[in-house]
Symmetry: C2
Subunit: 384 residues, 2 copies
């Protein structure tokens, strides 16, 4: 029994809506029978909508990292040169995976909190014309930074044939993403962020060009082989037992995203993200980055405030869980997740909880300034 | 809405008990916070009991195949020689995974339905003394065959230092398994069989010797790296986001297995499996194998009976789903799963449904002979 309602504001997992949770209460069905096959077929179509692609989105039973690894071992070969961007924990992971398979990453190193720019990538591509792929992180969960993906993709495509491979694990649904229109070759995501599901499924979408390259890839892989996935998908199934209950939840999640419409979903995420950031600034807190992501907001924890006291109070008094900094930012920044199933009043509630906590911690700011700032932003959803 | 109650008798997924299903209806919790950490810690202890080992059982977010691959890439190196047994689809998979990583399997080929014997393995080991590991399938789901694992393990250990690596994906819980006592080095399993959970988690237990070898392994891997898992487990966690809701279900499943006691669980599986096989024989059907597994029973579909008509009637009239043959046995055998949450009356119900179906299909046998045979076996649980 829990004495208080709990409210997750972490960048994954994100709250699961009741209409999805209820599905997990149903008796299990067999994943090789028509009832499940119909759901899987609907999910495959729906994923294309969410990724904005006409091509196949493969479903893996793994964490997001499994799909990241699939985007390496199925697309580049040992000895190949690629470009990665290290501006946070997840950008760094691309390079780590490449090293594991003797793929050579040319790493663009950025300060955490900075966003790589199109011209920097183009400059590196010009110096390394043999690079087979550019690995990007659309929304870097460890820093709350989003890159200008459409501009970067356009610039890469003008100067190079390198595959454009995007970690959109926390970005998908929170930020606009148009895979085909933007010329992305590979997009990776996972279930526990914008899809509002438990962790356990990962996704990888491939352009026709990427599919061709994948069919010829030589890096050893078995469980994460997309050639196997591609063969099985011909008969509407997966090569290995899928996390079927999460697939069933995914079907509900996609229905929701379709009914609401991606444009609306993206707009709401933008407004809620802006509302939280304006509110935090109105409370006298400083944003960690000038390139904020609509999936997660990173805010400096003032030196005068004890990070763990703040987060403990948020949790004990309001049931709110946020994330802290990773690596060298541990205890120094707050990361507030707002991707998924939040509405305007969840945002107001969060801001109010922060105000009530900061007031108790004797932080100086004008009471209700945060709520006022959030309301001002949220009003834009209604009067436009 | 479903008009009829559904009853799964497939060798995975298996029915999920209500007390586990209900857990999936709860709001998601964060996998890096104390509430989940306490559950994960309890699960780690409980897995040791189920695997009958004093050593760590690693939890992967993947299908069983992910853990099989982990048992290759973390334990043997490219160029190494190993021994595998191909007597069904899953034994074959060990060799496929090895080939993928340029590990050389010496394959002991057996007819489907046969069980490899200790002396055959010893003979091959003597011819191939450099073999680093023997890969076994305790219960071969594709044929319903169980091997005499304790005898085989004893024989291997007398003659060789090769690692004993066991696929117990469908065997665990259904068949006695005592990892440490039997000298097994690696045991692999998954969530959707004896653990009575949705698919999405896989498990891999390592003996101290296997852990040492794992730490030095050179085959490239990232997501399935047990070195990473081993490092994270030091702080009580997993290297990548786990399928947390299934872990929460697993905690319930382990409580159940502990409370019932593994000896009782094994005995029930043996009695129910024998009841089903005696019943099928009493109805005039022939068993596919002389080495039957307590996880799944394979029975020949008589030539006079149309396989798909039989399974359709079972499903439409009684909500019962069984599995068919795989590969060259498609349409020729029936596979009846009975691992997991079944009780005596579920078994009687299944046998009665088979009788009622066979009668409609004009199959000649003495009515109620199957139920009588099943009852005779089940009585052994009560009078002993």
């Amino acid at each position: 029994m829990k004495l208080n309602r709990s409210r997750l504001f972490t960048p994954g997992p994100t709250p699961i809506p009741d209409f999805i949770l209820r599905k997990f209460n149903e008796p299990i069905i067999h994943h090789r029978k028509p009832e499940f096959e119909a759901i899987f077929s609907s999910v495959r179509e729906g994923l294309k909508y969410v990724f904005q692609t006409a091509h196949e989105v493969f479903v893996l039973t793994s964490s997001g990292t499994g799909a990241m690894e699939a985007a390496v071992v199925n697309l580049v070969n040992p000895g190949d040169q690629v470009i990665t961007v290290d501006a946070g924990k997840f950008g760094e992971r691309w390079a780590e995976i490449c090293h594991t398979y003797r793929i050579q990453p040319v790493v663009i190193k950025k300060e955490w909190g900075e966003a790589v720019q199109a011209d920097e990538i183009v400059a590196i591509l010009k110096k390394n014309p043999a690079a087979k792929a550019v690995y990007l992180t659309y929304s870097e969960t460890s820093t709350g930074v989003a890159i200008d993906l459409p501009a970067i993709a356009r610039a890469i495509r003008q100067h190079s044939d390198a595959l454009i491979i995007v970690d959109a694990i926390s970005a998908l649904v929170a930020l606009p993403l148009k895979m085909d229109e933007w010329g992305l070759d590979v997009v990776v995501s996972a279930s526990q962020k914008g899809f509002m599901l438990p962790p356990g499924l990962a996704f990888i979408a491939l352009s026709p060009r990427a599919q061709e390259i994948m069919q010829k890839s030589e890096t050893p892989k078995f469980y994460l082989s997309l050639k196997k996935a591609s063969k099985s998908i011909g008969s509407g199934t997966t090569p290995f037992t899928p996390a079927s209950t999460i697939v069933i939840g995914l079907n509900e999640s996609i229905h929701y995203l379709k009914e609401k419409g991606l444009e609306t979903v993206w707009r709401e995420h933008a407004v809620f993200a802006t509302a939280i950031r304006s509110a935090m600034q109105a409370c006298g807190l400083k944003l960690f980055t000038n390139f904020p992501s609509n999936a997660v907001s990173a805010v400096w924890c003032p030196a005068a405030i004890d990070y763990s006291q703040l987060t403990k109070m948020l949790q004990n008094q309001f049931g709110i869980i946020i994330a802290g900094g990773q690596g060298h930012l541990k205890g120094k920044i707050l990361r507030i997740g707002h991707v998924g199933y939040y509405d305007a009043l969840d945002i107001i509630a969060f801001v109010s909880a922060m105000e009530l906590t900061l007031l108790q911690l004797k932080w100086k700011f004008e009471p209700v300034a945060g709520v006022q700032a959030a309301q001002n932003e949220i009003m834009k959803l209604f009067v436009s």
